[in-house]
Symmetry: C2
Subunit: 207 residues, 2 copies
């Protein structure tokens, strides 16, 4: 059975929400509550969960801890995954020190930039390198994810290097669509496009 992207996306959100509930000490959660959190209907949520064979309890819902654990195992969301950031400008450095990634199962283990002076000046607890050492470090440190925060014109080039270096996934913050070889998962996060979507959406609403 392979799940649709929509389903995977909802499940990731559910996982995040379960994480929060667990910290709050909540024991059970209903499909209705989950639905509200991820922006879907309770039917859809139950269908999603049914693909996973999740164990729900009548009149109580899903047991937060065990459900989260199961999702974590199923999607390997629990074991820490190593990531690196390429491009240590304003956005890249903000991401470098973002502690939440750590808590959420991602560990930034290296930063890269082409500007060697910049590398020397950056104050952070994370190791930073010249981008020429990308392949070497990705390999040595078993890095699975690459986060692109370089200017648009270099984004594809970096994506190619990451792919060649053997990462399995890429999160791209530059405002161009990158293309990657089959077998590598990537997501383009274009802030401008999100703003456009919002703008277009509310223009549509008026009609």
């Amino acid at each position: 059975m392979d799940l649709s992207d929509n389903t995977i996306e909802r499940i990731c959100k559910i996982f995040g929400y379960l994480h929060a509930l667990e910290k709050k000490g909540v024991d059970f959660v209903s499909s209705k509550d989950l639905a509200k959190m991820v922006g879907a209907t309770e039917y859809t949520i139950r269908k999603d969960i049914s693909f996973l064979g999740g164990p729900g309890y009548t009149r109580k819902g899903y047991e937060v801890r065990s459900f989260k654990k199961e999702l974590g195992q199923r999607f390997q969301l629990t074991e820490k995954r190593k990531a690196c950031i390429i491009g240590l400008g304003r956005l890249g450095t903000a991401l470098l020190d973002y502690e939440n990634f750590q808590e959420d199962g991602f560990e930034i283990v290296a930063g890269f930039d082409c500007n060697v002076n910049k590398i020397e000046r950056i104050r952070t607890s994370i190791d930073v390198f010249a981008v020429s050492r990308l392949a070497e470090i990705v390999d040595a440190r078993n890095i699975e994810l690459g986060i692109i925060a370089v200017p648009a014109e270099s984004a594809q080039e970096i994506a190619d290097q990451l792919a060649a270096a053997g990462v399995k996934g890429i999160l791209n913050f530059s405002p161009v669509k990158i293309s990657v070889p089959e077998g590598i998962v990537h997501v383009d996060m274009d802030f401008t496009n999100a703003l456009r979507f919002i703008a277009a959406r509310f223009v549509m609403m008026k009609k």
Copy 2:
């Protein structure tokens, strides 16, 4: 006729791509090319465009300039929209000075933070204010969009204030789902979730 979110999203991407093509001096673009850029099939793209009644030319495709202009008008993507950022920490300050927004039709006209010392120390060409003045400034400057970059625990509170102040759209970078009154469009941009999606996606792929 109201367009689906998927269609709106693709159209926003198309708009961005047309913008780039225009700068490059390209005159025509085919549905096939557009499809490649937005990650859809040419059929889907043509259907999307057909909802808009777009004028395509046989064997040439769509005329970049006029098509972009039409989309701009239809979705009011051309006239500059005013936005503000709340939370001037690492992410918020990176966004403050991101020049691309300007070029892409969005203008950051104010920043807000609750930390008054911080406000005094920030070096930027954009006006920054104490968050207590949010409603006042949003109103005075006709701000339509709010960008939330405060810690998770304050995000909903700020969303409420933005809604009360009368913004029409909210882009939320904090890792919680915010809820907003009917009639306000919002997008949650959760980086961690994007990473999770990538991770889950490539686990799925292996099976």
